[in-house]
Subunit: 348 residues, 2 copies
């Protein structure tokens, strides 16, 4: 520290040392995107020589911006949400915004509390995947925000100003169900969460549409809409496979549901692709490395996070006006788990 | 909003409305742990009736605490780090601290930058897993922090004041290698990252110790210390399995390395547990659901995050003094991938 009198070095001393304008130092400190690499290096070197320590907290109060984005998800240890967070973080990192990550632990009551805390922290915007779209407390807390909100795969009628990133789960589920029907299945079970989140409504619509297009009544008795958890996947699988007229194919609507379904099938000694066909949602390592590999309705989760962050930044800097809806596709990856003669342990 | 003159309601009005002390309102707003559930409900109801909006940012400046913890990891989309983050977040959530999550994308140069930004944001403490323990810039930036630091599975000589959560990778690797030697293997390859992070040095020591205890020279020509990436795992596997005196067993030192090793083996048409034995580190869904299931050196990653957060909170509130080192165990889960007669698709 070059300062003998223990006086804190100022931003002006940095600018003088670097021979640049005050505003240039400020842009580097705030990690503004419009800074050349050479300017950045020069200013950072001067910051270090002079011993300047910016206080982003104090400048937040002056600017009225905390340069933070709140990100509320249900469970960070779910690789799906982790991948969405990663995509968002990659976009935010290059803009100087930091991500405050909070998790509801799939507890709908905690959504409210977390949104309130993020509001009190004065985040500049929020990316949200709530556990229950219909919960009045959650809708009320979201409505109290005076900063932009982007919903990821959620749809909240009482929140007309929010932008939305929406994956087309219906088309993927319709393609998967059509594929199963063509393979000769009609006793197809669907196991997924309740209809208080958009992906379930989408998937259910796609499931029924495939039957309708094939001129077959959908097996309503085999639809289980309860939770995205592994426990739910396992208990439904056990229950369904004990039915007198048991399903010949299972669709796991969620990557944790899949883990439960696999446990249930293993415990019953049922062979996937032989005794029962299996489709999952979301292309995680399990689906790729399982033997046989598991037919999957895939989507680009990193891209989902990127798009959410870009939508939010556009609303924050007002380069976009009004709520935006961005759709992202799903695609069906057909693998051994739905083919009567599967290839063992093939590569995805 | 009950206020006709558009004057912001004060914390005093909340206290009067609830009939409690000002300090009680303050404790609820700051999510202090010593608040009864009934007090919490009463104060939150009054906050809502009165229309009070706390500004945690302003009170941060007054208190000199931002109630934020910086968490720097290499890759949030790696389920391992996500699970550590989840464990830490569960502890922090009940204390009012929010987690600012940043990721270096496994780029050692970005570690420096992220630590600097977190310092400028005045986080109250930092939980860190750096990509390179020996990088002078990273060590210098960590040294500039005047808030507590907890290192997760890292060891930095120039940072004597940091607390450490340290997983005992050596014992797990020694047990796994001993198990392979007892199964008749001596040509055992180890694929993992460079020695500039503690887990690699630990695993290497455990690997060599097992050979030494068995009175066999370790196969130094089969040790590959380069990176934790899937690409590295795949290219090393391809290279190793083309050697004239190729290994009969592979140890993947990392969950992404494992994905690469599996791709490499599949591409060569080699059957795991038949043509080559396989051990991995960290019990992810792939190791459990692979057929045969993969022998794994497991550890409790959620617990790692919890312990890191608790150590940090202890340092922040000064209930512990001086750096702490907390050790966590590994354990060997023997499965079909290392047993000549494996059980197909058994449950973990």
């Amino acid at each position: 520290m070059p300062d003998a009198e223990n006086r804190a070095p100022t931003i002006k001393e940095v600018a003088d040392h670097a021979g640049v304008a005050l505003s240039s130092v400020s842009r580097v400190v705030n990690d503004h995107p419009d800074v050349s690499a050479s300017m950045r290096r020069k200013v950072l070197a001067s910051i270090e020589s002079v011993g300047y320590e910016p206080n982003l907290l104090a400048s937040s109060l002056r600017r009225g911006s905390t340069m933070t984005i709140g990100f509320l998800i249900s469970d960070i240890s779910n690789p799906l949400f982790a991948s969405i967070a990663n995509g968002a973080s990659r976009v935010l990192d290059s803009t100087g915004y930091a991500m405050v990550l909070t998790s509801s632990g799939s507890d709908a009551a905690k959504d409210e509390e977390m949104i309130r805390l993020l509001r009190w922290r004065r985040v500049d915007g929020l990316i949200v995947t709530v556990a229950d779209e219909e919960r009045p407390g959650t809708i009320a807390e979201l409505g109290r925000l005076d900063v932009p909100v982007v919903l990821v795969d959620r749809e909240i009628a009482g929140l007309p100003d929010a932008s939305v990133v929406r994956t087309d789960h219906a088309t993927g589920m319709r393609a998967a169900t059509t594929h199963l029907i063509r393979e000769g299945h009609t006793r197809i079970a669907l196991i997924t969460s309740a209809t208080n989140v958009r992906p379930t409504r989408d998937r259910l619509a796609g499931f029924r549409a495939a039957f309708s297009a094939a001129g077959v009544a959908p097996p309503e008795d085999l639809i289980r809409l309860g939770s995205f958890s592994a426990t739910y996947g396992e208990s439904c699988t056990t229950e369904l496979m004990h039915l007198a007229d048991r399903p010949t194919a299972l669709v796991a609507g969620g990557n944790l549901v899949l883990e439960g379904v696999l446990r249930g099938l293993y415990d019953l000694g049922l062979r996937i692709g032989e005794d029962v066909a299996l489709v999952s949602c979301d292309d995680t390592p399990i689906t790729q490395f399982h033997s046989p590999p598991i037919t999957t309705i895939a989507r680009d989760t990193e891209r989902t996070g990127e798009v959410a962050a870009k939508l939010l930044l556009g609303l924050i800097d007002e380069s976009t006006t009004g709520p935006q809806i961005e759709g992202l596709p799903t695609r069906l990856l057909v693998r051994g788990s739905t083919q009567s003669r599967h290839v063992p342990a093939a590569r995805a």
